[in-house]
């Protein structure tokens, strides 16, 4: 019975994914709603991502420095931090924060719309709620995650520079010159593509959970919870696949 339920759910998610991809290319395009959702995604997450990335940059630098110093390789610090931040830390921090903040928000918002029959009301008035509610949110998270990752990377590196500068006086130009020569186009490109997939997964899972929310407040709570948990798991899975794939080009 458990396996049967799992397979039914998997088939349901697959159909949902296909419907999202299909409606993504079908007019009418919800430009205004997509822009509104992009603003919401950015606005809701910017401060938290910036704050967390800054702390992560400071802490990572502080903790890595003694190990490098024991080899007399402190000058490699910008290289180590920049590669760690751009390849993994930035996308992962951003993805996990967005999974928590946006995933739960989308799941709860659509869940409560489902419970209060607002989605049915859109459906019966012929307003194609799937395109308006789901496709716009999935598009917004997919577009905004890479931008948020760039923001997180810059803030984390800034935090790292301040830490380095606090311990050993280092010029801003020198630090970021070291960063720039150690980060490749492949690092940046793979990081952006990976984060777009993170965004797609967060939007898709949050929308699916909300759209198929159970009855009552418990249903909305479960929708928000499962949106966060499944998004986080997917983020680690995508990160792993992305690592294997990117290594083919290194």
């Amino acid at each position: 019975m458990e396996l049967r339920n799992f397979l039914i759910r998997a088939a349901d998610i697959y159909r949902f994914l296909v419907r999202v991809l299909k409606e993504f290319f079908l007019p009418p395009y919800e430009w205004k709603e997509i822009l509104r959702q992009c603003y919401q995604v950015g606005n809701k997450s910017l401060f938290l991502i910036g704050f967390t990335a800054f702390i992560a940059g400071v802490v990572f630098t502080r903790q890595s420095r003694p190990s490098l110093a024991s080899f007399g390789a402190e000058s490699w610090l910008p290289s180590l931090v920049s590669q760690a931040v751009v390849r993994s830390l930035g996308p992962l921090i951003t993805g996990l924060i967005c999974a928590g903040k946006l995933g739960s928000n989308i799941g709860a918002e659509l869940g409560s719309m489902q419970v209060s029959e607002q989605i049915d009301a859109m459906e019966v008035s012929g307003t194609r709620p799937f395109s308006y509610l789901v496709v716009s949110r999935v598009t917004a998270t997919t577009l905004m995650l890479p931008l948020l990752v760039v923001f997180a990377d810059v803030i984390a590196l800034l935090g790292s520079f301040l830490m380095v500068n606090f311990i050993n006086k280092t010029s801003f130009q020198l630090y970021f010159y070291e960063v720039s020569i150690n980060v490749t186009y492949l690092d940046v490109f793979s990081s952006l593509v990976k984060s777009a997939f993170f965004g797609f997964a967060i939007g898709l899972v949050g929308s699916y959970a909300g759209y198929h929310s159970g009855k009552g407040t418990t249903g909305v709570g479960k929708a928000a919870n499962s949106a966060v948990v499944i998004s986080m798991i997917l983020i680690f899975v995508i990160d792993l696949i992305s690592l294997q794939f990117t290594n083919l080009f290194r």
């Binding site: 209060s116 049915d120 459906e123 019966v124 008035s125 012929g126 307003t127």
Partner: protein, 259 residues
């Protein structure tokens, strides 16, 4: 007394009346639970048909089947000459534009103001984007329900009765030919319930719509119905006017009239 016991239904009140919607032998189960066990009914032009029944007898499932929100297991639903379950998504969408649905809980979009709620179907379905035209249509619809002053308020700021009225205005703004009301007076005080009943009657007068009103409120059934179909245990068991049914000896229906 002309009380018809199914399956001798349908009784035609007026043979010349145009049938707007027709349901035959509709069945629907959820898991092992059989909710609709063979519903038959016709809705005639400009009539108010009340579906009366206890909670949990499948009344809401029935009207959700009419607009294609729920797929029945068997049976047919013909609305405005079209079989609902043989339509493709585009055709179903077009049909839905001619059917208004007033939800039990109003289902107002709570992230939008009253104005945006009413503009939403106009912008998306009719492609109207001209501000003046939208404003005129929204004001007319809100004046119909006596709530023009709430235009810039959020749904959360409205009382239950006001939300019902705005929900009805949002539905009527597309000028549907058929209106479906799901428990229009549930959860309202008696005075507000009377106001909603009068609104249902006045909207029928003004826009010449046919309506199906789902209710367990006998007072609402008395005020709004031209004809009543009693839905008992998932079946359309009795049909007649309020006056005809109020003397029924049917053990499942009698308590409604003699509570």
């Amino acid at each position: 007394m002309k009380i018809a016991a199914f399956p001798s239904y349908p009784i035609r009140r007026d043979d010349s009346a145009e049938v707007m919607a027709s349901i035959r032998n509709l069945k629907k189960s959820f898991g092992d639970r059989e909710v609709l066990k063979g519903v038959n009914l016709d809705l005639y032009k400009t009539e108010n048909l009340v579906i009366l029944g206890r909670s949990g007898t499948g009344k809401s499932v029935l009207i959700k089947c009419i607009v294609g929100l729920i797929n029945p297991d068997s049976g047919t639903i013909n609305v405005l000459g079209r079989e609902v379950f043989s339509l493709n998504p585009k055709e179903l969408n077009d049909l839905r534009l001619q059917i208004g649905f007033s939800f039990q809980g109003s289902a107002l979009y709570d992230s939008m103001t009253v104005r945006e709620n009413l503009e939403f179907p106009l912008r998306r379905n009719l492609g109207i984007h001209d501000r003046d035209e939208l404003h005129k249509m929204v004001i007319t619809a809100l004046e119909d329900v006596g709530l023009a002053h709430t235009i810039n308020q959020m749904p959360a700021e409205l009382s239950g009765g006001m939300r019902k009225r705005v929900g009805i205005a949002r539905t009527l703004i597309l000028r549907p030919k058929i209106m479906l009301y799901d428990e229009p007076t549930s959860g309202l005080d008696p005075i507000t319930a009377i106001e909603i009943n009068e609104l249902i009657l006045s909207m029928r007068e003004k826009y010449k719509m046919s309506s199906i009103i789902i209710t367990h409120d006998i007072s609402s059934a008395k005020h709004t119905s031209d004809r009543i179909v009693a839905l008992i245990d998932g079946q359309s068991r009795l049909e007649g006017t309020f006056e005809e049914l109020k003397h029924t000896k049917d053990p499942d229906l009698e308590p409604f009239f003699n509570y």
